[in-house]
Amino acid sequence: MSKTSLEHYLAEHPFFHGLRPKDIEWLAGLAQPLAYEVGDYLYHEGDESRDFYVIQEGLVRLEVHTPGRGYLTIQTLGPGEVLGWSVMMPETRKTFDARIFQATRLLAFDAAAVRKRSEEDHHLGYELCKRFSRVIGERLQATRLRLLDLYGQPH
């Protein structure tokens, strides 16, 4: 993907949509396209949060290993979704494993660089914080709905 088409992709992506052109340009310069095969790990529980990711293709599973029950899936994330909302907070560590379940192409954004620029340019920092808040809110809402066990037997 050329830099221009990457800028276009980011400008159209719901997470980045509405950012200033100079921010899109900077993020496109930062984005690292990566490809993973089935079974690869994007990161492991306990790893430092070095990047956040935009999944372009494939399926990533967030898992936790539990003795006696094996790997439990917390959630799967697919095309278009943003993974790694904790990057805006320094020195955080990953709380789950992220395993590639279908061959995946994604864009990785260096967390330290995003934080440094956000400190220097609070407008960009605030815009990114709003966007990550939306991601956190959607995850929280989905988790709450799943906790309700809506499809379970009525009591």
């Binding site: 959630q75 799967t76 989905a142 709905l145 809506l150």
Partner: protein, 302 residues
Amino acid sequence: MNACRLPGFAYWTYMVNLISHTPGLDPMLPRPFRVARAIRETADVVTLELEAPAGPPLRFDPGQFTMLYVFGVGEVPISISGDARKPERLVHTIRSVGLATEALCMLRKGGVVGVRGPFGSRWPMEQARGGDVVVVAGGIGLPPLRPVIYHILHHRKDYGRVYLLYGARTPSDLLFTEELKRWQHTLSHAPGASPVLVTVDRAEGSWDGAVGMVTSLIPNLRLDPAHTTAMIVGPEVMMRFTIAELRKRGIPEARLYLSVERNMKCAVGFCGRCQLGLQFVCKDGPVFAFSQVRNWMTQKEV
């Protein structure tokens, strides 16, 4: 509450006269049907294929339901889950949640069940023609939508991109798994498209699909939102969040349809048991345009 309006005496007189003066039309009288096949779908869900020992088959449209009567136990409304083109086999998929549904799920080949109907409104198959279609099913919400899928398959060229989004509790709760695999190909609008998207709330072991809410599947669908019709069945909370997500995608409110469940007794608008605001779910529904029920869906105890 100020908007409740019960039908007046003239309405009752009209209905009683209509029934008593129309030969062969007694919607309160069950017709005996025989179980031709009972299929156990999951631990608590059974599909019954019924045949009429005498008389014509029961013709229906996608979205309609019947009242199924287990003699000596009780009668319940159940959506028809079969193919409207094959009315000689009347198909219902039933989850065991109470006395009558438990008795229905216990029926075996040769068993007899009373059938009244079909009743109720239809899915907007005509209005949806020429555009994209999103079918969203949660849990036991898939069976009332299966006739929609059959209809689209019979008229595939009349519709654009078609998606079936299906959320279930666990992989072992998934219904019609063989058909879901087939529909991945037969519903497809283009090579490589994945029209059937399944997600579960919880997964362990060998499940190789998505885990999460069915609403999370909506943002990335390739659609022409202005010309997309959505048909939704599931728990009401799930339907509310699904509608919010579909609206975010720009699908017009007028193109959102859902099937509502309420306790029913008569199924013909007599008893008022299933009244939802100004509507009777049994005769004005169960399929409603969202605009018809929008204000009632957030009212508690309605």
